[in-house]
């Protein structure tokens, strides 16, 4: 019973953390550390929620979740359906719910991965048809459209795309800053960081916690890319580029999506007047906490009681 209770508490703890963390401002001073914490919270929540249900269901075996599942499976297979009779109803429900939740979480991730890969494939094919190259900006694909946009199609061969409108909008230094930012996304594979959070948000769009978690992580990823870009370019130019994009944009924000204006200002302020770095001890503390969280759920899965 201890493992089931501990996993349930851990799951609740993760939800509380995910609810509080978006309003924490220290995360902006160390985006990479904060992203690590977010990832461990997400992973632990999934494992703890499913683990709590399964640990309760498989408690009669007294072997923990992993070996319990194994024993249960082999007893069902060898004795047939009769073995379920010795099993009470609440534990059966917990078992079904736990396995279903696990399957849904994994399914949602795989579906998102598949959809994302397909969308990128289509995007790449279209780019190959209509984008052009420009000797002035090597290695960048240019889209002939008056709107201002710059983005990257991540993948093994990532492509950075800039629209003609963006080229007109930005000065040479600003363009270099934007490209450094996109390059940071490519190098650090930020798309992989975002994927599970975006998948969860699509799966349960009504959950506020999930929505806020996803937008916090998205903002932190942008900040991490800003931090990397500022090593290679003037942070001021990056800030003016950001503002220019926002000011020129004035497109109707997509329905159901909040405009990102507040986020843009937060990024600009960070670039113009950076806050002092977090104390090293605090950063290491957060990293240690993330490691502890990540390790806790698998350990409790294996714990025999």
């Amino acid at each position: 019973m201890i493992a089931a209770v501990a996993l349930a508490l851990l799951s609740i703890g993760c939800v509380v953390a995910a609810w509080r963390l978006p309003s924490a401002r220290w995360t902006w001073r160390a985006p990479r550390t904060a992203i690590l914490l977010w990832q461990s919270i997400g992973l632990t929540w999934g494992l703890a929620s499913t683990g709590a249900l399964l640990a309760y269901a498989l408690q009669p075996y007294g072997q923990g979740v992993i070996y319990g599942l194994h024993s249960h499976l082999s007893s069902v297979l060898s004795l047939g359906p009769d073995s379920n009779l010795t099993y009470d109803l609440s534990r059966t429900i917990a078992l079904v719910a736990g396995l279903a939740l696990l399957a849904v979480l994994i399914g949602v991730l795989l579906a998102a991965l598949w959809q994302t890969l397909r969308a990128r494939q289509r995007h790449r094919e279209l780019l190959a048809l209509v984008a052009r190259e420009d000797p002035h900006v090597p290695g960048v694909r240019i889209l002939d459209h008056p709107g201002a946009t710059a983005y990257c199609v991540p993948g093994l061969r990532s492509e950075v795309v800039v629209s003609a409108g963006a080229l007109r909008l930005l000065s040479r230094d600003e363009l270099a800053a934007v490209l450094a930012h996109e390059d940071a996304h490519v190098r650090e594979r930020h798309d992989l960081v975002l994927l599970p959070f975006a998948a969860l948000r699509r799966a349960i769009p009504w959950a506020r916690v999930v929505r806020e978690a996803q937008s916090s992580v998205a903002l932190l990823v942008e900040m991490a890319a800003d931090d990397r870009a500022r090593r290679h370019c003037s942070p001021r130019r990056l800030a003016t580029a950001l503002l220019r994009f926002g000011a020129a944009g004035s497109l109707p924000a997509p329905q159901g999506a909040l405009g990102a204006g507040g986020d843009v200002m937060a990024r600009v302020n960070r670039l113009i007047s950076p806050a002092a770095e977090l104390p090293r001890l605090f950063r290491y503390g957060v990293v240690a906490l993330s490691a502890l969280l990540t390790a806790s759920a698998p350990l409790l899965w294996a714990m025999p009681h």
Partner: protein, 107 residues
């Protein structure tokens, strides 16, 4: 693709090959490319005697527009397919950003 878009009328593989003047391409290469584009749904073809006539399904601008919609995240489905430099903002927010930009440039 550019040639088919430029002509505006359905062309056969042989005609496309003639119009690609800058490179010496084998007719089979042109046919393979056209066939592949057809299978991906970018071209449609109609029988014309012994040859196929190829025609773009949609205009170049339509594809550019589709890419831009995705790039600006206006399609409504939030996949993490692309990582964008900046997201769409509302009108009010754009005004705030414009003011901030002016202040920065004055400094």
């Amino acid at each position: 693709m550019d040639i088919l878009w430029g002509q505006g009328t359905p062309l056969t593989a042989r005609e496309v090959g003639k119009l690609i003047s800058d490179r010496d391409l084998a007719p089979t290469t042109v046919m393979t490319v056209l066939d592949r584009l057809t299978r991906k749904g970018f071209l449609t073809r109609t029988r014309d005697g012994r040859a196929w006539r190829y025609q773009p399904v949609r205009s170049r601008d339509a594809y550019v527009a589709e890419l831009m919609l995705e790039a600006l995240d206006l399609t409504g489905d939030r996949t993490a397919a692309l990582t964008r430099f900046a997201q769409a903002v509302s009108d009010d927010e754009a005004a705030v950003l414009r003011r901030a930009l002016m202040e920065l440039e004055e400094e």
